[in-house]
Structures are given as C-alpha cells and as structure tokens.
C-alpha cells in the first residue's frame, strides 16, 4: 500500500509559508520556499524543540521563531543569529521526510516510496475539511458513494479526527457549490454516527 499521506491542498501552502500537520502520529512541518520548492520535515527545531511550523520562510531558508536559527533546503542549520560568525555543528539539523504534489494535493511519506503519489493532473482544489470521526468511519461514509467528479484524499490526524482534502475534476469545476454542500452534509452524517 502506498506510504503517501495527503496533508493539504497545494493551493493552501503558497510560496513562503509553513503548515503544521500530522502524518502517522508524527508532527510534521510542510513548507514552501519562495521559489516554490516544497519540503516536509520533523516539526521541531533541534535547538529547544520549538515547532518549526510557527517559523518564517526567507528565500530558500526556514527560520525558527524562537531564536531565528536558519535551516537550508536539506535541513541543515546555516545561521545562528546569536553567533553570526560561529561554527555550526553537524547535530544542528532537522530530520526530513519526503513530499510530492499530485492532483492539486500535497502528500508526505515518512519512508522512501519508489512510486510518487497518484493524482489527476487536471484536478481543481475545492477545500480541506476536518471531521471529528475515526478514519474507518469516514472511509465507510465515502465508500457509500461520492458525486461524479469529486475526489477526496483522506488523512488521519487523531483517534477521532480525520481530514478530507477534496478536489474536483476540471469538467465539473462549475459544481463547486454543490460539492461543498455534499461534503458538509457528509460531515454532519459522519460525526453524528461517530
């Protein structure tokens, strides 16, 4: 089974921003360089454990909000502002994972997966939605049927919390309002039964 876990719509992590999320019970930060390249790392600065998803992007570097430690695309610390000319040890680095975009969705994998994630390259982003229900319940509700043209990628974030990342096939883009209504109704039904 694919190890790729959907975490956000590509549209919702624009250049220069960060997003904190959960992948298989681990806290992950997904961030996009100003030039567009995407990264997925452990959401914890090695210095004092501050969430990197609260940090700031400058160019191709991610800065930690606590002390401004700057990390490069590979996760290595390249600047400690308290010691601008200081030597930086090899242990000052953030653990990194794999991420890829397909079908308007961002996916993260904790392990190397030979195949990339699957997705319809022409899909249009609709919305992400959080359901306070276990992932098995949500999958059952989806298996009961989705309208034509609607695709959902499912992300478990907690024992009773599941996120759907919904996209629309290009030719159904005009039905966004109806699809949104369907999703909200799905949420109501699924949470009631959870």
């Amino acid at each position: 089974m694919s190890m790729w876990v959907p975490v956000a719509l590509s549209r919702d992590v624009p250049a220069g921003t960060t997003l904190g999320t959960i992948v298989q019970d681990r806290e992950i930060v997904v961030w996009r360089e100003e030039g567009g390249a995407l990264h997925a790392w452990e959401d914890r600065c090695p210095h004092r454990g501050m969430r990197l998803s609260r940090g700031f992007v400058r160019g191709d570097r991610l800065g930690c909000l606590y002390h401004g430690w700057r990390f490069d695309a590979g996760g290595a610390c390249r600047l400690m502002p308290a010691h601008p000319d200081g030597r930086i040890g090899a242990s000052a680095r953030v653990g990194s994972y794999f991420c890829a975009e397909a079908g308007a969705v961002i996916f993260v994998s904790l392990e190397k997966d030979g195949c990339g994630p699957q997705g319809d390259g022409t899909a249009r982003p609709l919305r992400s939605m959080t359901l306070l229900a276990p992932v098995a319940t949500v999958r059952s509700a989806i298996a009961a049927g989705l309208p034509d043209g609607l695709a959902v990628a499912v992300q478990q974030v907690g024992a009773c919390e599941t996120v759907l990342h919904a996209t629309l096939a290009a030719e159904h883009a005009g039905l966004a309002a109806e699809m949104d209504f369907f999703l909200r109704d799905l949420r109501t039904r699924t949470e009631a039964g959870a």
């Binding site: 090695p46 004092r48 400690m80 502002p81 308290a82």
Partner: protein, 280 residues
C-alpha cells in the same frame, strides 16, 4: 493528574496566590498535583491546608508561599523588595501549558529577544549574544556579565541602548532578572518570576517587579510586562517535549545557552524528576 511524589520538588517554597486579593473566602489551588486550600483567617493571617494537614505559609513579595514538604533552605532574599522608593508591580497570574523548567529557561534566554519580543527587547540585526559567565553562589545559579542591545528596555524607553543584565535562579522554580535601571543607571531593576507547577506540564506564574521608575504609570509598567509574557507563552506552549530534557544529548545548545545548560545540569545534580525528561 498524578500528585507529585518527588521529594526534590516537594521540599521547596512555592508561590500559590497573591497577597492583595486573598481574603476569608478559601480558594482552591493545585500545587504539584496536590489540592491546597488557602485563605486569610480572622486575624488576617494567611493559611494553607491540604485535606490532611496544615502547611507552612510565608507572605512576602506580594505572594503567598507554601510548601508541601520540608524546605532545606529559606525563601529567597530579595533586597530590592525592602527599598521604599521602588515601584512594586505585582503583574498577575498567567497559566501556561508547559513545564516549570522550560519557563525558567525562557526567562534566562536572551537570544530570543529579536524574534519573540521584536522591537521591544531586541531587533535584527542586533542579534549577537556575547560571552557571559555562569556560576553557583551559595547554592543559587547566577549568570552575570550579560549584555544585549534593546530597542525599548522598559516602559520609560523610546530609544535603543545596550543593556547590562544578570540572572539569578535561587531555586528551581523561581528565576530573577536584574538590569540597569534606565532612569537611574547606578541602580538595578529587579524582576522575579514565581512559578506554581500545577502538573508536570501545566503551570501558573506571576512576575513581580521592583523598579526604579518615577515616571511611568502603574498600568504602563504592568502592560509592558504582560505583553512580554504573552509573547513568551506562544513559544512555551509550542515546544516539544513540554517537560524540560535533562539529557545533554537531547537538544543542541549554542554558546548563548550557557545559563540554560548550567540550569539543566543543576536540576540533574539535584535529582529533580517532576517536570523533566531524563535520559532513557
């Protein structure tokens, strides 16, 4: 919430309430996972009890202190509290979802000033933290010779200056800052942070300040400190793990962290378990 059974944590003095607001109506506080009731009796004396026994009480520094154990040392002596011309600001209690150790370390840290207290206590590009000294004096941890460029060091300041600071940790759950008083450079302002651990990962804390400041309104001094504290809370509640790691290999320090490294080593030497992550 599991009541604390760590004697190193129990055998110490903790602030659990404010003197000015304590009256005859008993208040329920939780200290180290133990329920404590605190009130003022008919003679006006502050009292504290658990379900099973009376606790010792000290009313000082605007706070009510108590202990669940047998402290080996007296409550910290703060000389500035006796100086009659100082403005005394008891800032109010703030709840923080973090451990006492993380809160103390954040108070000791200067390198975060430009990023967390931007344009108040620090600003880019003045981010460098020079070498400073740490040592133990009479069983208390001190950091001295600290310097940092501050855009607005206090409520009276609107221009930047190089600030000289010292830090004092008289016990694991109390931390103090001394800094040159901008309106009176031959004297030092003193700021204490008293931490009440409710659980290992939930605390209340109250700053109390003794300032040489003839100019600012009480509200201005209070609001200045509260803004700083609210900014720090954003950091504290987003650190993982919440408990302070005592294993030197768990996190990566830099030279500016000398006080934090000394504090963690001190806690390990004391054998403190409550609120800490120790080596596996």
């Amino acid at each position: 919430m599991k009541p604390c059974d760590d004697p190193v944590a129990l055998d110490d003095w903790y602030a659990i309430d404010s003197a000015a607001t304590l009256d005859s109506m008993a208040r329920r506080q939780i200290l180290l996972g133990h329920e404590v009731r605190v009130w003022r009796d008919e003679s006006g004396v502050a009292r504290a009890v658990t379900a099973s026994r009376d606790l010792p009480v000290i009313e000082r520094y605007g706070c009510i202190f108590t202990s669940l154990g047998r402290p080996a040392r007296a409550l910290v002596e703060i000389a500035e509290a006796a100086e009659a011309d100082r403005r005394v600001v008891v800032c109010g209690w703030v709840a923080i979802r973090s451990s006492a150790g993380r809160i103390v370390e954040n108070f000791l840290d200067m390198a975060h000033f430009p990023y967390v207290h931007t344009d108040i206590l620090g600003a880019e590009p003045h981010t460098e933290v020079g070498r400073y000294a740490t040592d133990m004096r009479d069983g208390e941890l001190w950091a001295t010779g600290c310097q940092f460029w501050q855009p607005r060091a206090g409520a009276t300041q609107s221009e930047g200056m190089m600030m000289e600071l010292s830090y004092r940790v008289p016990s694991p759950h109390i931390v103090m800052l001394y800094r040159v008083s901008p309106p009176a450079p031959h004297r030092r302002d003193a700021i204490a942070l008293f931490i009440q651990p409710i659980s290992e990962t939930l605390c209340r804390a109250q700053p109390v300040m003794w300032l040489v400041d003839p100019v600012s309104t009480h509200l201005a001094m209070l609001q200045f400190e509260q803004v700083i504290f609210m900014q720090d809370r954003i950091i504290l509640e987003n650190q993982r793990p919440l408990r302070i790691p005592l294993d030197p290999a768990a996190e990566v320090p830099m030279p500016a962290d000398a006080a934090s490294v000394a504090y963690r080593r001190w806690l390990a030497t004391l054998g403190l378990r409550y609120g800490t992550e120790r080596a596996a």
